[in-house]
């Protein structure tokens, strides 16, 4: 069978949609991170706006609720001077039975320039990118378990900010990897940027062995997983996994895989602790670690705005 052209890139290898980190060349990732750096200073100014997306309409299409991610995209678009329209589709069209592609066709007719899409089904943004008007750019803001590329990129920005280089790092990702789009995007980004050791840490129900085929070392022991790590990325444990057949209880999970000061002491002395938020204190991370000197959880949020500005401005400058 023929492999279809990567739908994220145009004929010149330029980014036209951001759907997944997978398949993006290192140069594109570096371009986004470098551009984000220039926007960080915008966020420190009194007038926090640049006119790069003036006159453009950005539609936030959230088929699945997420106030936090939607807000960061909204702030990023507004700082680029775009008009932002928020559609909480989980509560409107879809519940009236309108199909996904009908919704997209309708919004395209309203002259949208960019769709920021969150959807509960893996791959939904690919379907949208395939069927929207050619001038429209699609940004995946999280699809099912598949990808959350802007989160992956802001994680990379954070790592680069504190560690300067990717080439000698050990990064441990801890928690519910199998259901995590953040973990997948982080793994692809870390691999592309040349991180030599990526560890996926958790019980077998949440960290299955075939993750090895994504280029990670699978660890079922927390101490082994965190030992000598430069970066520890803790994932949020969703409420629905805290009991039942995946895990017996949140308490037992914290005992085995929670990040405490004692465990963190096994990592490198200058290790950073990251988390995509929102955090469950006492479930995956101890408060003393979340609020401690190694934690960069709040800077991640700040960097997230700059990274999303970078993605949107780069997309707007490239034609299909």
């Amino acid at each position: 069978m023929l492999a279809r052209r990567n739908p994220q890139l145009n004929g010149h290898g330029e980014l036209i949609h951001l759907l997944s980190i997978e398949g993006l060349p290192r140069a594109v990732l570096t371009q986004i991170l470098d551009t984000a750096g220039t926007f960080l200073s915008v966020n420190d100014r009194d007038v926090k706006k640049v006119p790069l997306l003036r006159g453009k309409s950005v539609f936030n299409l959230f088929f699945e609720n997420s106030t936090r991610t939607r807000t960061t995209f909204e702030i990023a678009a507004k700082r680029l001077s775009a008009d932002v329209i928020n559609l909480d589709i989980a509560k409107s069209s879809a519940s009236k039975g309108e199909s996904l592609l009908d919704t997209i066709a309708n919004l395209s007719a309203m002259h949208a320039d960019m769709f920021v899409v969150r959807h509960s089904e893996s791959g939904a943004p690919y379907l949208i990118a395939r069927h929207c008007a050619p001038h429209v750019h699609v940004v995946n803001a999280g699809d099912g378990r598949h990808a959350h590329p802007t989160q992956g990129l802001l994680d990379m920005y954070t790592i680069r900010h504190y560690k300067k280089s990717f080439s000698n790092l050990t990064v441990a990702i801890v928690g519910d990897i199998v259901h995590s789009r953040v973990a997948r995007s982080d793994i692809h980004a870390l691999t592309t940027l040349g991180v030599p050791e990526i560890r996926a840490v958790g019980p077998k129900t949440l960290v299955p062995g075939d993750l090895r085929e994504m280029g990670v070392r699978v660890c079922h022991d927390m101490r082994e997983g965190v030992k000598d790590a430069d970066v520890v990325i803790m994932l949020r444990l969703q409420n629905e996994r805290m009991s039942g057949a995946m895990l017996p209880s949140a308490g037992e999970y914290f005992k085995s895989y929670g990040l405490t000061e004692e465990i963190l002491a096994l990592a490198r002395p200058d290790a950073i602790v990251m988390h995509p938020g929102p955090i469950n204190r006492g479930v995956e991370i101890d408060s003393r670690v979340a609020d401690g000197s190694h934690s960069v959880i709040l800077p991640q949020v700040t960097f997230g705005i700059a990274v999303r500005m970078a993605v949107m401005s780069i997309l707007a400058g490239n034609d299909a």
């Binding site: 069978m1 023929l2 492999a3 279809r4 990567n6 739908p7 997978e22 199909s99 996904l100 592609l101 959807h119 089904e121 893996s122 791959g123 939904a124 690919y126 379907l127 069927h131 699809d143 099912g144 378990r145 598949h146 990808a147 199998v178 789009r181 997948r184 299955p208 075939d210 993750l211 085929e213 994504m214």
Partner: protein, 440 residues
């Protein structure tokens, strides 16, 4: 009506006949192959020079239910255009085939269309709910050739054992797709691709656990079981061992699992959303080897016409299935070419071998269906083995236009093009007379 098929390469997989010969047909029978009597005066002559004259194809899995009214007409037309002269349809129609009246009506309507012989499977349990048995004797008298749950689970092993015991009392075959219901909820095969794409997985154990259970119940009950659409290397091995043990089991594989793997899902191509899900390369290789060595008796189209609205969805929400009746011949030939088999060996998997699976359920038709024999029924497919074509929506007569082999997404070149299809001595399809690009 007398028909003479002239100068074709006559291939009968069952007897090994492969020679240039004329075939004479009178009424619904083949009256002569080769030495046509001098006084045979045909009403119509089909020039088959450069073409293969083969038995009509027998497809053990084709659904006719979707989409909408008139589906039977379009899908049986698709069968004829694909050279398929007999097809077996599973009972998951709407309503399910659990009453003789429904089977009578379906068979009556299919006969009136005279495009393709239709052999329904009856529901094993009422409304396919997996709890209460159907009236299997009445359903068999109405024309059912076996009993199946289609994609629906049986409530528990006790019910399955009772159903198999009851069916075996009369020697009826039970057709089961081996899949454990609780492990079968995913949308793609478990493995690296599903993990990478974030798609929920169906592990191989979903198939092997079901096979172990059913094979054990075959030992206990003696029931004759046909396994529908194997998908894994481990599944093929279990069937191979069961056959070696002498158990009365047979199996088939779909054109999709025979040619594709989960890697073909690419960027969430919903045309690759199939049941069973596409598995890995080693599974495909084992299925191909199993079909070649006879562990798997038949290649099936697993034809499932699905409308646009049900496919233009995110991968996990798309309805599983693909059109297949018009692709069966080409994909059998493609497998045969790639496996270095003779034409007769490849054709056997879609003609004589599926008829052996049906066995006595076909009655007197079983003597000659899937074969070319003097005195036998004239169910014939004339095709050009050297012609190539590409699948597009316009080339298909089926209402289902979605297939993994679509030229735009796959670029697959399909070997072999059907020229004429005869069912019971009547021309059911003729490329020359058919309108549209399909005639090319």
């Amino acid at each position: 009506m007398k028909i003479l098929i002239r100068n074709g390469r006559v291939i009968d997989p069952a007897s090994g006949r492969d020679e240039l010969a004329d075939v004479a047909i009178a009424a619904d029978r083949i009256v002569a192959i080769g030495h046509v009597p001098a006084d045979f005066t045909p009403d119509r002559t089909i020039e088959a020079g450069g073409c293969v004259v083969a038995p009509g194809l027998v497809d053990l899995a084709a659904r006719l239910k979707e989409p909408g009214p008139g589906a039977l007409e379009s899908e049986l037309e698709a069968a004829a255009a694909g050279g398929v002269t007999s097809l077996v349809c599973p009972p998951d129609m709407d309503p399910p085939l659990d009453e003789p009246g429904l089977v009578d009506m379906l068979k009556f309507r299919a006969r009136k269309l005279s495009r393709c012989r239709l052999f329904p499977l009856g529901a094993l349990t009422q409304r396919l709910q997996g709890v209460e048995l159907t009236e299997m004797i009445d359903l068999t008298e109405a024309g059912c050739v076996g009993f199946s749950q289609a994609e629906h689970p049986v409530k528990d092993n006790l019910t399955l054992m009772r159903a198999m015991q009851y069916a075996s009392t009369r020697g009826y075959a039970v057709w089961l797709r081996p899949q454990d219901a609780s492990l079968g909820g995913g949308v793609a095969a478990s493995g690296a691709v599903a993990t990478r794409l974030g798609l929920s997985g169906v592990p191989v154990a979903a198939e092997t656990i079901a096979l172990h259970t059913i094979i054990e119940l075959v030992r206990v009950t003696g029931a004759r079981v046909h396994f529908c659409r194997l998908s894994s290397a481990a599944g093929v091995e279990l069937v191979r061992r069961a056959k070696a043990e002498g158990l009365p089991v047979t199996a088939d594989v779909s054109i999709n699992s025979l040619h594709l793997t989960d890697v073909d899902i690419g960027y969430f191509n919903a045309d690759m959303r199939l049941t069973p899900p596409l598995r890995q390369g080693k599974d495909r290789d084992a299925l191909r080897a199993g079909l070649a060595d006879g562990t798997i008796a038949a290649l099936v189209s697993d034809h499932t016409p699905i409308g646009n609205d049900d496919k233009m969805l995110p991968f996990g929400e798309a309805v599983p299935g693909a059109t297949g009746l018009e692709l069966l011949l080409s994909l059998a030939l493609k497998w045969g070419n790639e496996s270095k088999l003779t034409l007769a060996q490849a054709l056997a998997r879609v003609t004589s071998e599926p008829v052996r699976v049906l066995g006595e359920a076909l009655g007197s038709l079983g003597q000659s269906a899937g074969r070319l024999v003097e005195g036998g029924v004239a169910d014939i497919c004339v095709f050009d083995a050297d012609a190539e074509w590409q699948v597009t929506a316009e080339t298909l007569r089926s209402r289902g236009k979605h297939t993994p082999f679509d030229a735009a997404s796959s670029g697959t070149r399909m070997p072999g093009r059907v020229r004429h299809t005869l069912v019971a001595g009547t021309l059911a399809y003729s490329a020359a007379a058919a309108p549209g690009p399909g005639a090319a």
